[in-house]
């Protein structure tokens, strides 16, 4: 199985247990990450599909077997609680099955997974950048930085803005992690990558560079250029 076949298969069945899928995943870190992303997206999909639909009003019901009435609210809550417990158990099982990478590890992994994003050289329009940032309640100060890549990525089950900002030291990847709060700044370096995660007014911000010096200062400067909605 090659990468294309793997992605087509996993894109249709993210939790596939086929041996050929497992074999390819074990030897291809990029595809392993792709599968993890697809599985995270499926968890989000599963939550999204569980819409809270009120039962019909008793007055609206016509004659027929009693079973056609909606379940009592206590039963509904019991069922929901049971689903929740089952979900938590599954998540906990998955969680303990894998060594937990740090947040900085995660952002480096994600940035490294998309090296093409660093090759984009054409500055994006402020509107294009705003379109990506809007739903996260953030914006860049006008003219503050040059953005050459902007899209929203699935990260830890949340859609987060993923930007590439051009700096004097070279391009850096910026993630606005509104869902993830950190208490203190964290820095990590591995295999030529340097990442800095800083507390932000909303969650945190992560900046990743490859063979870039002074990532601390760059990260703090980028943080200064982001405006956050109250």
């Amino acid at each position: 199985m090659n990468c294309l076949e793997f992605r087509r298969h996993v894109g249709a069945e993210p939790s596939s247990t086929e041996a050929t899928v497992g074999a390819h995943r074990d030897e291809c870190p990029a595809c392993a990450r792709y599968q993890a992303e697809m599985q995270a997206m499926d968890r989000l999909l599963g939550k999204a599909m569980l819409v809270d639909l009120r039962p019909p009003r008793v007055a609206d019901e016509g004659p027929g077997p009693a079973a056609l009435r909606a379940p009592s609210s206590s039963r509904r809550w019991l069922a929901m609680a049971a689903s929740l417990v089952a979900g938590v158990l599954v998540a906990a099982t998955l969680w303990v099955s894998y060594p937990a990478p740090t947040l900085a590890d995660e952002v480096i992994g994600h940035a490294a997974h998309e090296p093409m994003s660093w090759t984009a050289a054409q500055p994006l329009t402020p509107e294009a950048v705003a379109d990506v940032l809007d739903r996260s309640g953030a914006r860049l100060r006008p003219g503050a930085v040059t953005v050459t890549f902007a899209k929203r990525c699935l990260f830890e089950g949340h859609w987060v803005p993923h930007l590439v900002v051009q700096t004097e030291a070279g391009p850096v990847t910026v993630f606005l992690l509104g869902h993830r709060s950190v208490e203190a700044a964290t820095r990590i370096e591995e295999e030529g990558y340097a990442a800095m995660v800083l507390p932000a007014p909303r969650g945190s911000i992560a900046v990743v560079g490859h063979n870039v010096s002074g990532i601390d200062a760059i990260a703090r400067q980028v943080l200064e250029e982001v405006e956050w909605e109250a």
Binding site: R8, H9, G11, A12, E13, P14, M38, M41, D42, L44, L45, G46, K47, A48, M49, L50, V51, D52, L53, R54, P56, E61, G64, P65, A66, A67, L68, A70, P71, R75, R76, A79, E114, M116, S117, A120, Q122, L124, T125, A128, D131, V132, R135, T148, F149, A150, K151, R152, C153, L154, G157, H158, W159, H179
Partner: protein, 174 residues
């Protein structure tokens, strides 16, 4: 006398079945119809039909699949009978904003909207797989498709959702 007992027992079993399956059936119908009121109508009508042909269900372990098939057909029938127009999706999203909104998770709300905007052909197999836990073979049977066609639809459905949720510029696309 014995017939009465038999009817009573049948009613009790059907009641229990409906009570346990109803939440999933309504959700399934909602994701098909994208309309809460219509979903309720479809499930109500489907349950009446199921009650009338309950004797034909020889294995109650297959009740969920059997009921889903009835809901699916009832939805198609309702669609045909009412000659529902394909409405502007923005209007559908707006009409069901209350159901789609998740108070504590913006990502869930965004995903629901994206799912609402997905074409029927892609949304239905995805719901059957993710929400109902169907295998691709079961989805193929349910939808009268080949397994290959189901796999293609599931793959494209996720690609479309990803693209919708990632947003951004063409330069930013993979």
């Amino acid at each position: 006398m014995n017939d009465d007992k038999g009817d009573k027992g049948r009613q009790t079993r059907f009641a229990a079945l409906c009570e346990s399956l109803r939440p999933d059936l309504v959700r399934f119908a909602f994701w098909l119809a994208r309309d809460r009121a219509l979903a309720e109508d479809v499930v109500q009508e489907a349950m009446l039909r199921a009650w009338k042909s309950f004797e034909s269900l020889d294995d109650e372990a297959k009740a969920k699949q059997w009921m889903l098939t009835i809901v699916r057909r009832e939805h198609a029938r309702t669609w045909e009978r009412k000659r529902l127009e394909v409405t502007n999706v923005d209007a559908l999203v707006e009409a069901e904003a209350e159901v789609l909104a998740s108070e504590d998770d913006a990502a869930v709300t965004e995903m629901r909207e994206a799912l609402f905007r997905l074409e029927d052909d892609y949304r239905e197999p995805l719901v059957l797989q993710v929400m109902m836990g169907y295998t691709t073979g079961e989805i193929a049977t349910q939808m009268g498709l080949t397994q290959g066609a189901v796999l293609t639809r599931l793959f494209r459905a996720r690609q479309k959702l990803r693209a919708a949720l990632e947003g951004g510029s063409p330069e930013g696309e993979r």
